[in-house]
Point group: C2
Chain length 316, copies 2
């Protein structure tokens, strides 16, 4: 049964949780939101397209989850508290079952992150999902890419490389380990960690395009260099079954991880450990900020290593 | 020459104007923006897809302009001042000339409306443009759909029907009047009018899906009915060449107009005229809010008229 656009919006509205600072939610020409005094608004926008950002046969629940997760991850990297989001959804045809699954996954994550869906648009077109997420951070306190200092420790959350390894398995026609596949389809945005890093970290970036490439953005913005010790990169249990030569490229340069890479003064090492424990987030010391420019990855012998893979770029 | 994603973002960044309240613009994980104290944030998101919202051969400058215009129109309908926007752009392939044209049209309108592009995303996929626009309005003062009162005058800005008539000409294989075609490709968002209506209008909606259908949203949200006098609908010079029976359906129900329909107390009639003159916007009295529900369009004899066309709905 075809579902009209207004019915579809009603379906979404009926299931979206709200927040006390949503003065007027879905249903007018625009939403009305009450920003918190003394805060800056933190805004990011990311799109997922079928065949590029997720495989054709991905479950709608996973697509819904991931389309919000990639945006929450950007807020996490700034140390912002998630507040509100909009969803622009293009669908090739009306499919209530698909839509219910998609919205279910999207709102499951929205609820756990405390972000309210306040507006958006549904159109007909090839499957594409654009989300704009808005967060808030006390004025002047958001963590930028440009604050890294020579001598800073370099940290990474979670276990990068899992998502990329799952994708490689699928490309090779192999069924990936379920834990790795879940990391690809249901990334965990590190919002609790990002919030806990405010006042501790000097710089932060989310490594959606791969650790070394995104760390390069910190270096460029901060006018510094970085050294990453590949042997210190944390590997998940499933990933540690692969030899270093196999998994290092995934861990160091694989895209689609939504972990945070951040730098912090060595004097904050103990505070970071405690903050990450409070945020229930694994964080691992993987290197340091140095003078110079660019990122050098060092193997177990302290020799420079080149994966041969640049950061993932669309259009490259 | 293929252009990488980071180059493409640099191209956009180099041309985007900023504002004093943009603490950190394009180039980090998220933008940092300073909301105005005492204001609510007004947020809307709209998508344009090729073949649905614009014709395949539309000039990139026009697509850029229109993708922002449809969002500015939503801010106008709330009486909000445009502040910031994000742009999610999916492109089938890298095409610097197309992109320069698109960004040119987008930023031409952004500059004239005083809205800053602060972030976004470029991805590979079928051409699709999603914009989220953020505006601000003094707390409690935004104009909603739900405020219409029985006895209110009904007004419309500009000359609805122009865009729809141009589309019909093209569908019929006829070259449309250039003025009508321009109205389709370069709609003028009515932000000056919307701002001037704060404190005067009881309700407002933008008529992107057609006057009668969108007015129906005011009626539903306000628990009232509406009467529209078709003979009072303002026709542009180009449109007035068509007989009423031909143009009324376009004027009353044609989508793709980004005019405002608003209701205001009859006692404000003179104030409305002055406010619209100040906003350099044509506004025409076209009917009134009545008890009951739904919208009735009356012909020159005061008889109910049925265009046979419901409001435009995707998926219907």
């Amino acid at each position: 049964m075809p579902v009209g656009e207004f019915d579809l919006i009603d379906r979404i509205r009926a299931r979206a949780r709200t927040r006390g600072d949503v003065v007027l939610g879905i249903g007018d020409d625009a939403a009305l939101l009450q920003p918190q005094p003394g805060c800056e608004l933190v805004v990011t926008a990311d799109t997922l397209n079928v065949g590029v950002h997720f495989l054709e046969d991905t479950a709608p629940e996973d697509i819904g989850w991931k389309s919000l997760a990639v945006n929450l991850s950007d807020l996490a990297a700034m140390g912002a508290s998630p507040s509100w989001c909009t969803l622009a959804l293009a669908l090739p045809q009306s499919d209530p079952a698909w839509l219910d699954g998609f919205i279910g996954g999207f709102l499951e994550l929205a609820q756990s992150a405390g972000i309210a869906l306040v507006g958006g648009d549904t159109t007909r077109g090839p499957l594409s999902i654009s989300v704009t997420a808005m967060g808030q951070a006390p004025a002047g306190r958001a963590i930028r890419r440009s604050g890294a200092q020579v001598g800073d420790d370099l940290w990474v959350t979670g276990t990068p490389g899992d998502a990329c390894s799952a994708l490689h398995a699928i490309w090779a026609g192999v069924v990936p380990d379920p834990a790795l596949r879940r990391r690809m389809n249901r990334p965990t945005p590190r919002n609790a960690a990002g919030l806990a890093l405010v006042g501790l970290a000097n710089s932060c970036v989310d490594i959606s395009d791969g650790l070394l490439g995104d760390l390069g953005h910190i270096c460029k913005a901060s006018g510094v260099g970085a050294e990453v010790m590949l042997e210190q990169l944390p590997a998940s249990r499933a990933l540690s079954r692969f030899a270093p030569a196999v998994r290092w490229p995934w861990q160091a340069s694989g895209g689609d991880d939504y972990e945070l890479c951040f730098s912090a003064p060595a004097a904050q090492r103990e505070a970071i450990v405690q903050a990450m424990a409070g945020a229930q987030t694994q964080a691992t010391l993987i290197g340091r900020i140095v003078q110079g420019q660019g990122v050098i990855a060092l193997d177990g012998d302290g020799q420079p290593w080149n994966s041969g893979r640049p950061s993932f770029q669309h259009f490259s």
